[in-house]
Every structure is written in C-alpha cells, then in structure tokens.
Symmetry: C2
Subunit: 246 residues, 2 copies
Amino acid sequence: MSDNKVGTYKFVAEPFHVDFTGKLTMGVLGNHLLNCAGFHAADRGFGIAELNENHYTWVLSRLAIELEDMPRQYEVFNIQTWVENVYRLFTDRNFAILNKEGKYIGYARSVWAMISMETRKPADLLTLHGGSITDYICDKECPIEKPGRIKVTQQTPVAEYLTKYSDIDINGHVNSIKYIEHILDLFPIETFKEKSLKRFEMAYVAESYYGDTLSFYLEEKAENEYDIEVKKNNQEVVVRSKVIFK
Amino acid sequence: MSDNKVGTYKFVAEPFHVDFTGKLTMGVLGNHLLNCAGFHAADRGFGIAELNENHYTWVLSRLAIELEDMPRQYEVFNIQTWVENVYRLFTDRNFAILNKEGKYIGYARSVWAMISMETRKPADLLTLHGGSITDYICDKECPIEKPGRIKVTQQTPVAEYLTKYSDIDINGHVNSIKYIEHILDLFPIETFKEKSLKRFEMAYVAESYYGDTLSFYLEEKAENEYDIEVKKNNQEVVVRSKVIFK
C-alpha cells in the first residue's frame, strides 16, 4: 500500500526543453510536474477523465518549486509525486525531483481544488468516491516551505503582453505553463548566466483569455528575491509569482 | 535490415501540448519530429553526441509537414522516421505520423546539413563513418511535396518581437520550435477555429540571438496560403515559412 502512494515517472531532458545553459527550463519542469499529478490521480481513480464524467475538474491553485540543481540536456531524471493532505476544499500534492544518480535535487508543493464544471464552484473532496482519496495520503518528507504570501504594491508594469493563439489551452484559458515562461522572460538573460533559480512560486488567482493584455508588475523584495503580479486588462489579478535566484 | 531503417517512436498528446481545439500544436509536433530524428540518428551511430566528439553537428535546413488530422489530447500516436537520400552536403529525412488506430494522418520532410562546429562550414556526409549513413537509405513512401520556394516581397512587417530568455537554446540561438510558435501567433485565433493547418513549411536561413528584434512579413499567396519571412533587426532573413490552411 505504501508503495502505491508514491508515483514515480521517468523523463529525459530534451534538446528543445533546455535553456541556453543546457539546463531544463522551469516551464518544462512545471509541465512535467502537472503531468505527473495527472498520471498519479488517473491511476488511482480520481483523474480528470473520471472527474469530467461527473462534470468536475481539478484546478491548480498554488505551485512552489525549490531546486538545488536542474537536469541537464539528455539527462534521464525521475519525478515522484504523492498526496500530503486532503481537506474539504483543497488537497496538497507534493513532488520530488531526482537526478540521473537518483539523488534528490528538488522538491515541489502544489495545492488543488476540485470544481464543478457547470457552476465553477468548489466541490467537497472528502465526499469524492466516498472519501477514498484520503487512502492515498502519505507522510513522505517534502523539506521545502509551503507556498507563501506574495505582495506587490508597484503600480507601473515592467512589461505588457497581448495573449496569442499559442498561449491558449483546451479550456480556452491562458495555460498555466505559459505564465511561467512569460514571468521568467521579464528577467534579462544575464540574470540566468550569473545565477540559477532557487525557488519559484505561482499563485493562480483567476483565468485570462485570448486577446487579454497581461501587465506584469515586479518588485524586488530582497537580494535575489522578486515578487511579480500579473493583471489582465489593467484590472483583475490573474497570477502572482515569487522568483528567488541564488 | 529493412526494419532497422525505419525508427518508430510513441508519444502521448499531453494537456499543455494541445491548443484550444484540443489538437496537438504544430510546435510540439515539430519538437517531436526533431527528437525522433535525433533518436534515429543516435541509434545508428550518427547522432549529435557522436558527431560532437568530432566537432561536427547537424543543422536543420528545411522542414515541411502536411497533415490530414492531428492527435487529440491524451491520444497515443506514433512517429516513424527514415533517411530518404544522402548527398554530399545534405540529407533528406522523412517522417510519418500515425494516429491511435495506426492510420497515417500526416507526413513530413526535412533537409539537414552537417557542419563543423569550429569553422561552421558544411562537411561531407559521404565520408562520415566511411559513408555508412547511406546504408540506412530507405525507399518508404512519403506522399507529400518537397519543401518549395517561399517568396515574400511585402516591405511592412505585421508584427515585431524582441527575443527573450525562453527563446534561446543551448547553442545560444533562437530555437527552431519557437519560430514555429511565433509564426502561428501571427494569425488570429478565429483562423484556427474555422480552419485547420494543412501544410506548414520552414526554411531555416540564418541564426538569431538573444536581444534581436524579429520582424514578421506576411503575404497571402492564394486563398488559405500564406508566405512569411522573418528578418532580424530589419536586415538579414532568418527564416521563411509557408502556412496553408484548409
């Protein structure tokens, strides 16, 4: 039973998935994490396909990734994922990233809600399949901090971006991974030459759509630590992010 | 021997790799094709890693993809690849895309050169490993036209784009797949609602780098047929592309 709680998935860092330093990009790693969440849930009977049949779906609320290293081009690496907690309206899912030698090089935490596709309202996770999701709760260690508070008071955007065809997913929303790319693109390439990403956080607050103009507000909170807020059409906050370099 | 000439690789259309219609994006398909080329070459002793040891590398010159359909979200599909011709300075590599039922839904053609990483000059493919690459030449059918002539006389760009961190690959160049995304982003989303991509061609002419401004010149050549030229810093042509919808 314990073995069945942690899912392990193998990947290779593909050539077009690494950045100019030869390391896997944060966007691609985020994509892999979300795919692993999907595989793990589907294999245990609470995946998107099963939920959709009952007009429910998973919605990602928070993601925090902390890394000592990143896989290099062509490197084989593994991602583990497991459920840490299940509450009525949220579940905490954690991840570990292991390099080719099997050494832990990073961890991630995510928070998900289940919503009704008809009303968009949150659903009760503890009644899903009679609460059987709680059978998978696992106390495996995840030695990184939980997603924290991100606060931006800056009123002048550092960049604006008009969303395009390639940003939009099957639900008609700007996809969760594209936000990661657009946020990292706020930094000059020199930053990635001199430093590496230590921690990256996303808070998904609202959806944006094709043709929305995204404005990016950036604030340096401490040395190497930046909070970013993204608004659509100069109004509603869409996502917030924290980027810590080392 | 015949079996060994064609490589077959299995994929799944991941959620963040499909567009708003639920079909695999052209950029992701292009990425998979180039990965298959890499796997196929590496398995036969003329992959990037082996070439790099001798200070040579593969350079993609042309890519043409023609499709009747695209894999849908979560669909398992296969890509086949083989070498059609080897000339002194170029080799033609073809691809077939098979849907989950094993039906051919598309084909692709690509043209590659091998260059010296020191002089950037083309190398002689017929002397590579004593010409053994020719052992893999295969006459499997590829019933789509070869990459054709792309000509744009339009002098006013329809869009400009300043290249960013996420565009740059391990060689310090804007990556081949990002051009595909930027070119398709020239079209309004309505085009992809009403039509689907029938044929997509890329001609890689020169490299662009971080901080270059790309200008996109677009010309309608016939109904549903567009030629695009991308210049860097308003001067040199970087890539040309043809997009045909149906």
